[in-house]
Every structure is written in structure tokens, then in C-alpha cells.
């Protein structure tokens, strides 16, 4: 059974997406349990895979018994062994929380929603697990297309924002495909490990250079790296909270994983940091991304949109960390994929709970919220402290590694940007706390209630929220173990 985990991870959600769409016609109440079961199997397999990787090292799974480079192989090493459980567990927790949101906002669309949801998770898990560059493109498009469908289910402005995302997303995926085309011309292979084996004599070739640049621009577009971020805030803000709770934590993080995979496995650090040597420029781009993300977040008077700009800034953290070109920076970037997925999920689940109860997420709607929804806001405080980077929450430790890496690489601009963005985050979140704590609750007609009546979100929304909030602290406390047992093996030997 455990030999088949890599296949189960993708095939169970894929097939159950078909089952859910049929079940939606028969009885809408069947859709949710099937989706939970499918993602439960995926989460179980991904955790099982992580433990197998810890025991045995890299796992190679040949799909259909065809050995690479002819067939498609799934490679699970320490990097995606760590990212897979994060993706599947974040998706599962948000799914449980989304049940009430779906019942409240679009009960008649439960079938299509859960079908798209499970298909999107299939795509995301497939991107992370696959060892074939073209297969990655196909799964990327599966995840993107279902993501467009999910994001368009929302407010009146959602379809237009999603269409803008679709243009940018398609260009990004096309660029990635084009880059893979150039790699295929020079190497004749699509298997990542095989490409890496064939590339070293060709490092001076202009085609390889073009392939690398085009792939990177494509991936940056998909992850909303600063100058290419314009699609993200509107698309995530106007979507319903069940969709944005899945896509905001995972899509950008999975694309950061793809970038690190391309740097480490396909092109190898030797090419990226020694032959090419543009990493200083990219780190400066990341500095601009972090500063601009923070400043634009400061401008917003709306909780959800503010959080989307924080996502943009966090992408800058990870890209910068990965491009510092040293061990500490890369450790910080990989850790931050895990931490940021959990932190973003935490704050977006909070937004989901607030929208479920208050029907709004502008700053004016948040008045008196600590009295009205104390448990939700308690979790929000933990999530906010983690994004700011207060120990012992996990956000502190990844930021610590990133700053350490910046100092070792003498990139003091990056260090200053990280500290600056932490300070801005303090302002951002304490402004929200102040509105929620001190300003009295008022309903939409302007009548003030003293004292506000407690009206908490239902238990199926609070339990996932608290699981995430507690995991933020636990991951923080066990950071040392995660780094010693997993992350240090991600980084190839001989990498300083």
C-alpha cells in the first residue's frame, strides 16, 4: 500500500472529483463527505510519504512501470516531502471550514464547487510531486483553470478580476512552456533529473540562458512577484472566502516551490549562482517587492485586501531568500513556504468567519469584533503575531533564517526590507486590533449596541481555525527539528 502513496496522492482526488460532480446531481449533501474523504486520503498519503522519505531518502515512483526518461516519474525528496503534507493539510482544513460558507452563500452550487476544489488540490499536489517538466505544465494548468472557476464565484467584481488573473496566468504558464521547449531543444529530455544530467556541458549556451529566463518570468508571473503582482489583490479579495482560503495560502507558495525546484534540481545552483550570477539583481527586486507590498497594504482600508498585499510582500521574502545563494537564505525560504501557507490560511479563515457572521470585511465592519467573536479574533491575534514575526510563532524563525542569510550574503538591503516590512505589519495588525477592541460594535444602520452580544462562528469553522493557530506555535517550537531532519537535506552538498 505505502509503495503506491505517490499515485494515490493524485489519483484519489482526481477520480473523486468525477464522483462528486455525479453525486451533485443525485444529492447535494453527498458532495462534502466525498471531498473530505478524498482529501483525507491525500493528506494521509502525503504524511506517509514524508515519513518514508525520512526513513529511506529519495523515492522514485515510475508511473505505469515506464522508467524515465521515457515514462513519467514522480520524485519525492526532502523538499517536496515537506511541501506535500502542507498542501494537503491546508486544503483539508479549509475544506472543512468551507462547508458552512457554501451552505450560506451558494447552496445550489455545492456540486460544482467541491468538484473544482478537489480538482484544484489534485493539480497542486501533482505540481509538487511530479518529476517531469511537461507534466508539471499540465498540472499547473489544471490548478489554474479550476482556480479561475473558484475565484469567479464571488462578488459582482469577481468575474472581471478573475479574467485579468486569467490573462496573466495564461501568459505565465505559456512562458514556462516556452522555456521547457528550449530545454527540450538542447537536451531532448523532459525529465527534470535527466535534464540536469545533460545540461552541464551546455551552461554557456544562449538557449539554456533563454530557457532559464523565460521559465523564471513565467513562474514569477504565476506567484505574483512584485512588478507582476497586479492581478492578485482584486482576484483574491472579491472571491468568496471558501475559495480565497484555498488559493491564497497555496497557489503562490506552490509556485515558489516550483522556482526552488527549477533552481535546485533542473538548472542546479552551480549554473544559477556561478555561471549566471544575476542573483544580486533578483534580491534587489525582492527588496522592492517587500517594501511595495507593505506600503500598498498600508493604504488599504479593507481587511481582506490588506491581507492580499501582505501575500505579495511574503512572496518577496521567499524569492529573495531563495536567491541569496547561501544555506541560511534557502533554509529560510523553504521554511517560509510551510509557515506562510499556515499563516495565510489562519488569517483567511478568520476573514471567512467574519464574512460569515458580519457580511463585510471593510475596517468599518470590524468595530467591537473582539466582544462579538472573541474566539475568532483570538486566533487572528496568533496569526497576526506570526506574520509580524513574534517568537514563539513560526513566522519568527523563518524570518530569522532569512535575515541570517541576508547578513551572510552581505545583502543588507534585503535585511532592512525584512525589518521594515515587520514594522509595517505591526502597524497594520495593531490598527485592526484597535478597531476591533476599542471601537463599539455598530450594525449597518449605525445603532450602537452596549454591550455587544457574542455571536461566534459555528464549530466547524472554529475547529479548523484553532488547529491552524495551534500549529503555528507548534511549528515554531519544533523549527529546530524540522531544519535538522528535513530542510538541511534539501540543500545540495557543497552549497555554502
Amino acid at each position: 500500500m505505502s509503495e503506491q502513496y505517490p499515485a494515490l496522492l493524485v489519483i484519489v482526488p482526481l477520480l473523486s472529483a468525477l464522483v462528486i460532480s455525479v453525486a451533485g446531481w443525485v444529492n447535494k449533501r453527498l458532495c462534502f463527505p466525498i471531498a473530505v474523504a478524498a482529501l483525507g486520503v491525500a493528506a494521509w498519503s502525503s504524511v506517509g510519504l514524508l515519513f518514508r522519505v525520512l526513513d529511506e531518502g529519495v523515492i522514485v515512483y515510475k508511473l505505469g512501470g515506464w522508467s524515465p526518461p521515457m515514462g513519467i516519474a514522480y520524485y519525492i525528496d526532502y523538499l517536496n516531502g515537506l511541501v506535500l503534507p502542507v498542501v494537503s493539510i491546508v486544503a483539508l482544513l479549509n475544506l472543512i471550514s468551507s462547508k458552512k460558507i457554501v451552505e450560506q452563500q451558494f447552496p445550489d452550487k455545492a456540486g460544482p464547487f467541491y468538484t473544482l476544489y478537489v480538482l484544484m488540490v489534485t493539480g497542486l499536489l501533482g505540481i509538487v510531486v511530479t518529476g517531469d517538466a511537461f507534466n508539471l505544465y499540465v498540472l499547473l494548468e489544471i490548478a489554474s483553470l479550476t482556480g479561475y472557476g473558484l475565484l469567479a464565484m464571488g462578488e459582482e467584481r469577481a468575474p472581471l478580476a478573475t479574467l485579468n488573473y486569467l490573462y496573466m496566468g495564461t501568459i505565465g504558464a505559456c512562458f514556462y512552456l516556452l522555456g521547457i521547449g528550449y530545454l527540450y531543444i538542447v537536451t531532448g529530455s523532459l525529465n527534470m533529473v535527466d535534464i540536469a544530467r545533460l545540461l552541464p556541458p551546455l551552461y554557456q549556451s544562449k538557449a539554456v540562458l533563454a530557457a532559464f529566463i523565460i521559465c523564471m518570468v513565467g513562474v514569477w508571473l504565476k506567484m505574483a512577484f512584485f512588478p507582476l503582482h497586479a492581478w492578485l489583490p482584486n482576484a483574491y479579495t472579491y472571491a468568496n472566502s471558501a475559495s480565497s482560503g484555498l488559493i491564497a495560502p497555496l497557489m503562490t507558495k506552490v509556485m515558489v516551490y516550483v522556482m526552488i525546484r527549477l533552481i535546485l534540481t533542473v538548472f542546479t545552483p552551480k549554473f544559477v549562482f556561478n555561471t549566471l550570477a544575476v542573483h544580486d539583481a533578483v534580491v534587489w527586486l525582492a527588496v522592492i517587492a517587500i517594501v511595495m507590498g507593505a506600503v500598498l497594504a498600508l493604504k488599504e482600508r479593507n481587511l481582506k485586501k490588506m491581507l492580499t498585499y501582505i501575500v505579495v510582500a511574503e512572496v518577496g521574502y521567499m524569492v529573495g531568500g531563495a536567491w541569496l545563494g547561501n544555506r541560511a537564505g534557502l533554509t529560510g525560504a523553504v521554511l517560509h513556504i510551510v509557515n506562510d501557507a499556515l499563516m495565510t490560511l489562519c488569517v483567511f479563515l478568520v476573514v471567512g468567519n467574519i464574512v460569515y457572521k458580519i457580511k463585510g470585511y471593510a475596517f468599518g465592519d470590524l468595530k467591537g469584533l473582539f466582544a462579538k467573536m472573541p474566539f475568532t479574533m483570538g486566533a487572528f491575534v496568533i496569526g497576526a503575531l506570526s506574520i509580524i514575526g513574534v517568537p514563539p510563532t513560526c513566522g519568527f524563525f523563518s524570518k530569522w533564517y532569512l535575515i541570517l542569510g541576508a547578513i551572510q550574503a552581505h545583502q543588507y538591503g534585503f535585511m532592512v526590507a525584512l525589518l521594515f516590512s515587520s514594522l509595517i505589519n505591526v502597524v497594520l495588525f495593531f490598527r485592526v486590533f484597535e478597531i476591533g477592541f476599542y471601537e463599539p460594535f455598530s450594525d449597518h444602520e449605525g445603532h450602537e449596541h452596549h454591550p455587544a452580544v457574542m455571536a461566534e462562528a459555528p464549530l466547524t469553522m472554529l475547529v479548523p481555525l484553532y488547529v491552524v493557530a495551534i500549529s503555528l506555535i507548534l511549528v515554531g517550537l519544533y523549527t529546530g527539528d524540522i531544519v535538522n531532519h528535513i530542510v538541511q537535506f534539501v540543500i545540495p552538498k557543497g552549497f555554502m
Binding site: L145, Y167, G181
Partner: protein
Amino acid sequence: MTDLISTVVAKYNYWIYITLMMIGLYAMIAKNNLVKKIVGMNIFQTAIILFYVSIGVKKGATIPILEHGHGPDVHHVVHAVDYINPLPHVLMLTAIVVGVATLGVALALAIRIYNNYNTLEENEILTQVREK
């Protein structure tokens, strides 16, 4: 000058795909109508399909189907040089499917937008959004 012409002619497939791609990109950036933008996006995708298909071509080679490949008395040796590379073409079957799906999703979104705003011109939609 003759050097330039000979480079362009020798690698004309790349020049055509780049031109098509730029036409698509231009339409996506400059056009005001949402459907025209979507068509531009489709041209952009098609350019990449052309690029992939053209790299599988080989001079003097034939389609990759074995003549008399089956049966009990097959003795001849297969020379890979005689056949064009079928792999990029097979990959593009998937890319075509992706392109059609993207086009479908984009047009469906355009219908939703038209129902909301009663227009497909981007500037008119943006004025309506700002007025609200």
C-alpha cells in the same frame, strides 16, 4: 544585410512564432474589448504550439508510422533518422486541450461580466465600477 536575411530565412519558424506571439500580446495589452483580448490570448498560445510543432521537423524524413510494421515476416531495421520527432506533436495535443479549456473559461467569464455590466468594453466597465 545578406547575413541578416540568411539568418532570418534559415530560422524562419522562430521568427513567425515570435511575430505571432507579439501580435497576441499586443491584442491583450492594447485592445479595449474583452473578447478581442481573449482572442489575443489564444493567438499567444497558438504561437507556442507552432514553435513546438516546428522543432519536431526533420528534412527528408517522413511521418513516424512504420510501414509493414506488423505481421510475422517483419525483418527490416527501423532507422530513427528517417522519421520526424513525434514527441513535440504529442505534447501539443495536450497544450491544444489546455488552450481550448482556457478559452472556454475566459469566454464564460466574459458572459458573466456582460450580464453584470451590459457591455464588454473595458473602459465602460471600469467607469461603472468606479461609480459604485
